[in-house]
Amino acid sequence: MKIKTLKTVVTSLFSSLAMISSAAAEKIEIKGSDTLGAKLVPQLKAEYLKTNPSLTIDILAQGSGHAFSNLVAGTANIGMSSRKVKDKELDNFASKGKKLVEHIAAYDMIAVIVNEKNPIKKLSLTQIEGIFTGSITDWSEVGGKAGSISVYTRNTSSGTYKSFSGLAMSKKDYGDKCQKLEGNQPICTEVSKNENGIGYVGLAYADGDNYKTVKVDGVSPKISKISKYPLARKLYYYTVGEPEGEVAKLLTWMTQSEEANEIVAKIGFVPTPVAAAAIKKDAETE
């Protein structure tokens, strides 16, 4: 008799556990890049949940590196990254027998921002390199008002930090006078409060109070100029294996649907189809 009750208790326990786990299957965890995860993905999530209210989506944006560490540990379904995966990270996936699949999320342009009061309107790539590597230290050297330059950069765990060094600084090291801040927003804040500040942010942050973007090599960071702007890059979603079920549905919606593309454009990224069209068009004219 006693054993029988024990059995029922155990089975009911198991069934309730199974129910919990099946409910957990409806939960999608997205982790990684701050560039993607701070504004874009949360807004996409809100829009998507309107049509799929039963789904739970958790977002954690701490830098691109976290995308891969979480994917490999199985604690994320989708990883967001503002850079391509590194070789070392691929090893981790291989050793677990996992295959990483890349999806292009959107195109981004890294905007170089200066204070509103700064008369500088444009900088060449060489000047930008000089400023960020530390060989140019005063605004008068690039045609501005005299004053020593304060350089604000992202920190080393950011994908943008690496992308920028590759795109704008011919892979040279950052100068030791750079102040490393914790995200796009702090850079905007510091530049907006420091007349001699300069920093770089994703295009989504390019419009704001008391700071402005500068033209890089004569091209302003506008969506229509994506093929000519020297600091443009791709942003990625990563999954382990080809996505399935809810994750696949969400990913297709985020990267391809009209609604999602509208949000992407509204926030300041360039939706993949638009970018692809612009690049194709320029390739044809040349």
Partner: protein, 649 residues
């Protein structure tokens, strides 16, 4: 009623020995269990501490040999030699930028009027960008022909129209920001700028070459100053060429060696995984594939062959370095002949002559190092230890060689802590003396809990408060004219040592206050009474008797406050500015306006990106270990001081 509840006296005093379970000779009863529970808790804390220590040491210990490997790879590939050359070039850059600033300042003062065309043109250009983008794009897409010609005329007209919308007075204001001496915009410069702007629109957003040539045209008129700066500008060419050659060669070797090593490490790890798997399983196949791929990436390098080129360049080095110095000197001599009119330029030139002396020193040091340099000289463990503890650069995530030098972080932490203690110690101890000796009971009743409540504020809240509120206030205050005597004022970087120090002082106050107050409280009543009986007044008693008697306790309080400050993470991460550079102490107290990085901040900031086990990760743990040891030292010294005091009492 009261009588009824009163227990019988005999019942109260007699503690019956409770019977418990006898197990392996132990008497396990309820009392024993409670005692065991408490004791267990105490030991658990110790055990925990023990595990943390082991974890820290274990993670950090691999750093020293690992760093040694990287350093020796840098040596064998010649990257180290490239660094020696680079130090001189960095020194040169710092010097050149000063001279260049002086030059530009002088040029603006003397020929600013000629230069106005450039800023006017740039203003007009940005108006065209903002307002005529569609028209320009449409024009660009037209095919050559009469249609395009007529469109060009319309476009020119719209350019003029749009440019006219900018009132001259506003334009003048914008120009004055760059060229403060400008009094008016001459019609001539405006027309020229307008023509350039038209060309810009017609030529697919291409800035006319003439605009770019204007500064160099003006340069010609600067006479011997320009000749000087031109000589100086070219003085480093040869050395830079040598650097580029050495680096190109050395980096290829370095990266190949580095990749080979990391690939081999990956293969080792993967092979170990493979051993425990069945050979046919899906995972095993995937791993095998990866291993094969990694193996194919490993390439043979002949370091001895590769290094020959580096040596060939090093041979040329001494001459090039001497040439840089001598040509620079020639430039400086020319400068002496040039008439410098502005005070600012003179100051800059003076500063640069100080830097020039430094550069001479750097250059001769590095020259000596390079002559002795041998790629086969082994890197010892000791080299690796000194490179960590006395290294002046913390440069991680580099595309070249990553450097892990503790000095910039350590000095940053120390500087902030010293500033914090400077504010916190008088404040907290003063408060403690007041509350303990002079305050009425009612005052003490709200002062003490009030100050202690500060401790309850989460540090991230305090950090955000610092960034959003205090930083702005401090910056505003620093711009007030009559406060400019304060070192570091006016502040350029909002996030700096002073701000971090102030916030941390606020955080350290309750710690110091509570402990100091305790120490004052522990002074035997007899001391005070004796002093008062001798006729001393309350102030005399407090300052001459009570404070000296509790001095050791107060010192302990201050030290613990220091420990609290140096270990604080969130606040410094948010407000210290995170600039991994040794603070420039030559500024004296003005150093407080600089941004610094800290030991705690670097761990919080960088651990996110590094994969566990790589050298960078171990380096962060080394920093953690240093922090741990500092705290340990402070705490044990404090305990000794306190123990000594209680013995005396």
């Amino acid at each position: 009623m009261a009588k009824k509840n009163q227990p019988n006296l005999s019942e109260r005093v007699s503690f019956k020995r409770k019977r418990g379970v006898q197990l392996m000779g132990l008497n396990l009863n309820a009392d024993g269990a409670v005692k065991g529970f408490f004791g267990g808790n105490a030991y658990l804390a110790i055990l925990f501490l023990f595990f943390i220590c082991i974890f820290l040491f274990k993670s950090a210990i691999g750093f020293i040999p690992g760093y040694r490997t990287e350093l020796s790879e840098a040596r064998i590939s010649g990257v180290e030699a490239a660094n020696h050359v680079n130090y001189q070039l960095t020194g040169y850059d710092a010097l050149y930028t000063k001279v260049n600033q002086a030059f530009i300042n002088e040029r603006r003062a003397r020929f600013g009027a000629l230069e106005t065309v450039v800023p006017i043109y740039e203003e007009l250009e940005s108006i065209i960008d903002d307002q005529l983008e569609n028209e320009v794009d449409e024009y660009t897409e037209l095919d050559e022909g009469p249609e395009k010609e007529s469109a060009a005329i319309t476009l020119k007209e719209s350019v003029r129209k749009v440019c006219a919308t900018l009132p001259r007075s506003k334009l003048l204001e914008e120009i004055q920001v760059r060229l403060p001496e400008t009094e008016e915009i001459s019609e001539d410069s405006y027309t020229r700028a307008l023509i350039f702007a038209e060309q810009y629109a017609l030529n697919e957003y291409e800035t006319p070459d003439e605009v770019n040539r204007i500064p160099s045209m003006i340069n010609e008129q600067m006479g011997s100053f320009f000749k000087a700066i031109d000589t100086i500008k070219q003085s480093d060419d040869e050395l830079r060429q040598i650097y580029v050659m050495i680096e190109k060669q050395a980096l290829t070797t370095y990266q190949t060696i580095f990749n080979n090593r990391t690939n081999q490490e990956s293969i080792d790890v993967l092979s170990k995984d493979l051993e425990s798997l069945e050979s046919e399983s899906k995972r095993a196949v995937a791993i095998q594939e990866r291993i094969d791929k990694l193996r194919s990436k490993i390439v043979e390098v002949d370091t001895d062959e590769n290094i020959k080129l580096v040596y060939a360049e090093i041979k040329k080095h001494d001459e090039a370095a001497d040439k840089m110095i001598s040509e620079f000197q020639a430039g400086v001599d020319l400068l002496a002949k040039a008439e410098i009119q502005t005070e600012k330029s003179e100051i800059l030139i003076k500063e640069s002559s100080r830097l020039f002396d430094e550069l001479k020193e750097i250059s001769s040091d590095r020259k000596a190092l390079l002559t002795e340099w041998n790629h086969q000289k082994p890197v010892t463990i000791w080299d690796s230890i000194t490179a960590f503890f006395f290294g002046a650069d913390w440069k991680t995530g580099s595309n070249r060689q990553s450097l892990y030098g503790l000095v910039p972080l350590f000095t940053g932490s120390l500087l902030i802590s010293v500033v914090a203690m400077f504010f916190a110690v008088p404040l907290a101890i003063g408060a403690a003396i007041y509350v303990n000796q002079f305050a009425t009971k009612r005052e003490a009743g709200f002062l003490k809990p009030g100050i202690e409540f500060i401790q309850a504020i989460p540090s991230v809240v305090l950090g955000l408060f610092g960034v959003l509120v205090v930083a702005g206030l401090l910056q505003g205050l620093s711009n007030v004219g009559w406060l400019s005597w304060i070192p570091g004022f006016p502040i350029q970087d909002r996030l700096n040592v002073l701000l971090a120090g102030l916030l941390l002082a606020f955080m350290a106050c309750p710690t110091i206050f509570t402990l100091a107050e305790d120490a004052l409280n522990n002074v035997p009543k007899a001391y005070t009474e004796a002093s008062l009986a001798m006729g001393a007044n309350k102030l005399q008693t407090a300052l001459r008797i009570v404070v000296p008697a509790s001095l050791s306790g107060i010192v302990a309080a201050v030290m613990l406050g220091f420990g609290r400050v140096i270990g604080e993470t969130m606040v410094v991460l948010l407000v210290a500015g995170n600039k991994a550079r040794i603070p420039d102490l030559s500024k004296g107290l003005g150093v407080m306006g600089e941004s610094v990085h800290t030991m705690t901040g670097i761990i919080a900031q960088e651990y996110g990106e590094v994969e566990p086990g790589v050298l960078h990760w171990k380096a962060l743990f080394m920093v953690g270990l240093v922090l741990f040891l500092i705290s340990l030292c402070i705490n044990s010294v404090c305990q000794r001081i306190i123990a000594k005091r209680s013995n005396k009492n």
